[in-house]
Amino acid sequence: MNVTREILHYMLQDAAALWPDRIAVEEPGMGTITYRDLEQLSGQLCQHLLVKGVRRGDRVGLYLEKSIDAIASIFGVLRAGAAYVPVDPAAPFARNEGILKSCGVAAVVAQQPHAKALSDSWASEQRPHIVALEKTGGGDSLRAALENEQVNASAAESDPAVAPNDTAYILHTSGSTGRPKGVVLSHQNAAVFVNWCRETFQPTPEDRLSSYAPLHFDLSILDVFLSISSAATLVLIDSKTAKAPKALAAVIPQQRISIWYSTPTALMLLMQADLRQYDCSFLRIVLYAGEVFPLGPLRELRKLLPGVTFYNLYGPTETNVCTFYRLPDQISELKESVPIGEPCPYARTKVVDEDGQTVAAGEMGELLVAGGSVMHGYWAGAESRADPFALDSAGERWYRTGDFVREDADGNYRFLGRRDRMVKKHGYRVELDEIEACLHRHPAIKEVAVVGVDNSVAGMQITAFVASPGALSIIELKRFCVENLPAYMVPDFFRFHAVLPKTSTSKIDYTSLKATLQNEAAA
């Protein structure tokens, strides 16, 4: 396993050649799959897709619960030279349908009842090929679906050549225009990050990695590809277990997890179970990313897991992880917050002021990132308001993270806040403007302003201020939101006004609305 690969599915091929009988993926309660069988099953899907007309550079949707079927599908799509487009099976169908249509997918691997609904949603002449799975779990449904529609063996094609710059996957994040934004990432974008992880965390085939994040979330890239490239075992955590503290804590001893990666929200959920009751002695590394880990709970978690090395990873979906910080053994050394750390070796970073001029160390500015892990761009038709890149005089593209940071004397960056109106809730990125765009479609709403306030006790809480001519029911508004948005984007609270307060320039006065909430919280 000493070969460094720039093509993601070659990582599986290498592991299958060296360790065919080791367990590649374990899906608790549903089964396991060896490296040999995972390579074979993904190869079958690849052949199937090729025969059905999928070509290098195409997109293939994945509408699947996290499962062995889904992991095999990821590799099958990559091997066919296509990019996988994972959607959240728990999100509203219309949102997922919109994502798949805007990506112009050539095929979709979907479980029922979504496969049927997708099939009905396209006119027959435009319909992509749909691989329909009765359910997911253990890989059997994917196998069955492929056998039902067995492709002619004589039509078998050789795998297409794939280049490091080819798109490997498109992840959708909340977009400020009210439509999800597709972040287009190449094999190389992910591979430089995954290969750095291998050098830094040194996983071996004995390791067992948690797969906590859903597959449409960027944290899953580390889970899946670090585990597979190390011939380790990936342990899938289903969406139900992921939300239940005790069941989640029990996964660690039952599955002998040695490397854990999740958001701080998930780790704080774990702490709701009494972790001392669970044998966590196999655990050697805890990685977290996606949001700021409040220092109090982090200190407590360190105490509960002595001997475990903690890393804070930082990076928007657009850049993959681009800075890292290894926590000191004595967390009491940390005063205000945990730094986001120093740049990963494949990333270049700088901190600039509003005019794009580099600021002096110690001064606050926006973090810009360039280098091998940075996306090529957003999927066409989903551009953001502003250009996400800044060009320097040498013509290099720097991704503007929108995050304000400061470089400390020890060379570590410290996160200070967001430039725009994006907040993090339960580890998910939420564009407040997307919630507003949704509520604006409600026929009875005249004005709406959505505000996020981070409360040290309750975490991020989203409030929608609404002006409407008649009385509205909060229950009805929440139902309206959940039909159009993922559950984590439904506002926690609604407030009603005759008209919303305005600034002198006749814009909605967000500052005063936010101050109202903050004053109430402080009272």
Partner: protein, 84 residues
Amino acid sequence: MEDIKSTIKDYILKEFLPGEKPDNLTESTPLVTGGILDSIATLKLVSFLEERYGIRVEPHEADVDNLNTLNDIERYVQSKLPNA
């Protein structure tokens, strides 16, 4: 009997629907599928039920089958009480 339902109704109105007219929250209003209880809110409700009624909610039980409406929750809580 009515007592369980109204206690839980008051709790949900106070915690997750402040400002809502109590009459709008009926016995059959969908809570989980209606966007009122997300995963974190569900956890809070479960803690409340465990504390208030001295019951133990197994992780696999904290789902839409048992918690989607006030009727469901009342039925579930009653099934967990010792004299059920």
